[in-house]
């Protein structure tokens, strides 16, 4: 995928932003769209078969969770 967005990708971007509650200002849209395309390309790279050892850990530090706020 190149960095020049096709119309389909532009529509997809606009729809996703609207669904998530973002009214993207028109003058900020070009840069946000470019980043959206880059993130979409990167996310696709992450989808590969994984081994059991790549399970994310969930170790919590109880003392930190109970700290004074």
């Amino acid at each position: 995928m190149g960095t020049e967005p096709g119309k389909a990708h532009e529509h997809e971007f606009d729809a996703v932003m609207a669904r998530c509650g973002h009214d993207v200002p028109a003058d900020l849209r070009p840069g946000a769209l470019a980043v959206y395309l880059e993130l979409t390309r990167m996310a696709a790279r992450l989808r590969q078969p994984r081994a059991a050892e790549s399970e994310p850990s969930n170790v919590f530090n109880v003392r930190a969770l109970l700290r004074d706020r």
């Binding site: 840069g31 919590f60 530090n61």
Partner: protein, 475 residues
């Protein structure tokens, strides 16, 4: 024989003079404040100079030393903090319109440790907005300038930290590093920058960018200075969920040793195959590898996992976590963000829970590969930091992204894996701008990085060359 200018004294040299009564913290502080007054109108490294606080700290430090109370190697030494570190009673702006009025009531853990160590706070240093955005001119405070050429970028996001240390306004500055934000300004400004092992230094009280990838560390003028600062700021903090209960270390223990007995992996393909990499970077890194071999190390070329995988993993985690932090403001106050910050974070709304989970799974795999398959055979790695010299600030366009190599640094792999990484000045481009070598160590083995970095620094000698600041302008 004339005395060297005070800002050129190392922490250790200043410490000896302070303890012998030949120098005072007040004199060091006034010298630094005078340099800031002369040069910072050009460099814009500081968001806030805390002169009154500095003078109080310095007077107390002198009084304590006279009374025989010695708080350690940073006693009486001036420092600055990137303006995402909380200091009680002093605004933490994050260089954002969203935080201009935020005055914390409690010190960050790093600030608490520096204060307890008798150091002298000179002020808060500029940053890209929320340690992310970019060198924007639409933020409350303008971008810092590179002391080697003020028309050029400093690297970032700890931009003020790099600029201030390179210009000799400070000997010690603290920064944060989520994808390279200490190491990028270190290489482009020609100073030493350390991203410690994840969990080594507490992030409590530092405004987060990405919980999984944020690190805090020093930018300094020399490797020894960095080792001394790490000794003060490192340590277990039970109130930081990422903090690790690692044994205390004497980080300066191995300085001065040669490199015999060490095996270093040269990760050349991490940058050599990238289109557009400067031939000067290739030549400088090859020369650096040869220098390390002459110092006694066995140096062999190694291949790391695909950089693009590291980059995708790091960017997805960082952007999603930043979005989680700023979601409401991105929806309700989009105009209060700088353009770059808004454009870089808002699109993360489109990423899914599966995307983030896949990124964390890949992170596990990459970390295992780096440590089990590479760093089991080598004591440390070397590679470049940047691919080109620092671009001009006017090369940054109105909208993100800038030209791809303008901000490209080969740093994010070690945020993903959490390994320690040290940038040491390695030479200069033909345009006079500096470049840095990046050393990467095993988890919690910063000592080996300091040993290698100090030996290299002593042999190459570029740390002694400083920007020719003249009459309030960095030429």
């Amino acid at each position: 024989m004339t005395s060297p200018p005070l800002h050129t004294l190392s922490i250790a040299e200043a410490g000896v003079a302070l303890r012998a009564g030949r120098l005072t913290a007040q004199a060091l502080t006034e010298h630094a404040l005078a340099r800031i007054a002369t040069h910072d109108d050009t460099l814009r490294a500081f968001i806030r100079v805390t002169a009154a606080r500095a003078r109080e700290d310095a007077a107390r430090a002198d009084q304590e030393l006279r009374a025989g109370l010695d708080r350690g190697p940073l006693h009486g030494i001036p420092y600055g903090l990137k303006d995402i570190f909380d200091v009680a009673g002093i605004p933490t702006t994050c260089n954002s319109r969203l935080r201009l009025d935020h005055v914390p009531a409690v010190d960050s853990e790093v600030e608490a440790r520096l204060k307890a160590g008798g150091a002298v706070l000179l002020g808060k240093l500029t940053t890209h907005e929320f340690a992310l955005g970019g060198p924007g001119f639409d933020l409350p405070f303008p971008p810092a300038r590179n002391p080697w050429n003020p028309a050029h970028f400093t690297g970032g996001s700890s931009s003020g930290s790099g600029s201030a240390v390179a210009a000799g306004l400070l000997r010690v500055a603290l920064g944060s590093d989520t994808g390279g934000s200490i190491r990028s300004p270190a290489t482009h400004c020609g100073v030493v920058g350390l991203k410690p092992t994840y969990g080594r230094v507490s992030r409590r009280g530092v405004f987060p960018l990405s919980f999984a990838l944020d690190h805090c560390g020093p930018l300094t003028w020399s490797v020894e200075d960095a080792a001394l600062v790490l000794g003060v700021i490192a340590g277990y903090d039970p109130l930081d969920p990422s903090s690790v209960e690692a044994p205390a270390e004497r980080y300066t223990e191995d300085l001065g040793q040669d490199l015999h007995g060490l095996r270093l992996g040269y990760a050349r393909r991490l940058f050599s195959d990238i289109s557009g990499v400067s031939p000067e970077v290739l030549a400088a890194m090859d020369a650096s590898a040869q220098t390390l071999a002459k110092l006694g190390a066995v140096v062999e070329e190694v291949v790391l996992p695909d950089f693009e995988l590291f980059k995708a993993c790091g960017r997805i985690i960082m952007t999603v976590e930043a979005y989680a932090i700023h979601e409401q403001d991105l929806k309700t106050r989009p105009r209060d963000f700088g353009r770059y910050t808004y454009q870089r974070v808002t699109p993360a709304a489109a990423l899914t829970a599966a995307d983030l989970t896949q990124a964390f799974r890949l992170r596990q795999e990459l970390t295992v590969q780096l440590n089990r398959e590479v760093l089991s055979r080598y004591d440390a790695l070397l590679t470049t930091t940047a691919l080109t010299s620092a671009p001009r600030l006017d090369e940054f366009p109105h909208d993100w992204p800038p030209p791809s190599l303008a901000v490209a640094v080969q740093t994010v792999p070690f945020n993903v894996t959490g390994n320690p990484a040290l940038v040491v000045p390695a030479g200069f481009f033909s345009n006079g701008l500096p470049l840095g070598m990046q050393l990467v160590g095993r988890p919690f083995d910063e000592r080996t990085l300091f040993r290698v970095g100090a030996a290299f620094e002593a042999r190459v000698g570029v740390t002694h060359r400083r920007p020719p600041l003249e009459g309030g302008r960095a030429s």
